[in-house]
């Protein structure tokens, strides 16, 4: 899908600050100078094409009282698929990425309470027989998730 100028404006302007009011589109129509129906239609089209993953509020897991951490494992190549299946089988594992390093599997664990993190990590260690490097964030610096297109 080729992005039009209007699509780019929508992507660049709507990554934050979607109005929280009864008539959000009417407000956007003014700032973006694109008719409301067209904005909605373009978001739908971009969502179907997979260019937009989601539309709505982005919640902060820890502030909702949940636990969140980043963890990594050194997985022997011959066991990679098997370990992927084990790690992915945990509902608490939200994202999992293969990365080109000796620590070659990196995943995010999200739990309803902070205390559950330890038990999920230790269950993964037991089931895989591998050490899990648990790297919870200690400080967060300015989270900026705006991609200019």
């Amino acid at each position: 899908m080729n992005l039009t100028e209007a699509d780019r404006t929508i992507i660049n302007q709507l990554q934050g600050g979607f109005p929280l009011c009864e008539q959000p589109w009417a407000q956007l129509e003014q700032t973006l100078e694109i008719p409301a129906d067209e904005i909605i239609q373009r978001i739908k089209t971009m969502q179907s094409a997979g260019l937009i993953s989601r539309f709505g509020p982005l919640y902060h897991a820890e502030k909702m009282g949940g636990g969140l951490t980043l963890a990594a494992i050194k997985v022997p190549e011959e066991r990679y698929e098997d370990v992927t299946d084990i790690v992915n089988s945990f509902d608490e594992v939200a994202h999992n990425y293969a990365r080109d390093h000796e620590l070659n599997m990196w995943f995010v664990v999200a739990t309803e309470t902070p205390e559950e993190i330890e038990s999920v990590i230790s269950d993964i260690e037991k089931q895989t027989g591998l050490k899990v490097y648990n790297m919870p964030k200690q400080q967060e610096f300015f989270l900026q998730l705006i991609f200019e297109v």
């Binding site: 992507i11 909605i40 997979g50 937009i52 509020p57 902060h60 009282g65 620590l103 200690q138 300015f142």
Partner: protein, 169 residues
């Protein structure tokens, strides 16, 4: 040291907030009246939904409201997790400097695992190619100067799993 944002105790979110979170965490309806639709679904007044979501925004429980682009599909195909070994006593200042760089999306302090993992600062760098990411990492290295005691970049080679965060009611 843990200076992460103060935790909001779960008591600050009540049952109605949780209903709103459960109904909207996968997204808002793409209709003319998204908040009305959520309110109708939950049997609430639209003003209550808006006020409660505003309170959650103010407390940081909602980070932001808007579209989340798929950066990979938008052409940012190289995603490098750059990791840095910087002096602990300067990490707050250095983290703020790196976090403010426009091509860095997330920047966190995380624990080291010595001796094999000396890195305590993580910065996610996005680019259209590995070469572009490598140039951006060099730019960070120059910003850090003598405080760069070693760094590495881990490129993702495959997404093994990707789901949203889930909360139950």
């Amino acid at each position: 040291m843990n200076t992460a944002a103060p935790m909001i105790s779960p008591e600050e979110i009540d049952a109605i907030d949780r209903k709103i979170i459960a109904a909207t965490q996968q997204g808002l309806p793409l209709s003319q009246t998204p908040y009305h639709d959520v309110a109708t679904e939950l049997g609430l007044d639209v003003s209550e939904v808006i006020n409660r979501m505003q309170a959650m925004l103010d407390k940081g429980i909602i980070r932001r409201i808007g579209i989340v682009p798929n950066h990979y599909k938008l052409g940012f195909k190289a995603n490098g997790m750059s990791v840095w070994n910087v002096p602990d006593d300067k990490i707050t200042e250095l983290g703020q400097t790196i976090g403010a760089v426009d091509f860095v999306s997330h920047c966190y302090q995380r624990p080291r695992f010595l001796p094999e993992w000396p890195y305590n600062l993580f910065a996610m760098v996005h680019g259209k190619s590995r070469e572009e990411v490598a140039e951006k990492v060099e730019h960070i290295s120059r910003l850090l100067g003598n405080n760069d005691r070693g760094h590495d970049v881990l490129f993702s080679t495959k997404i093994l799993k990707k789901t949203g965060l889930r909360i139950s009611q």
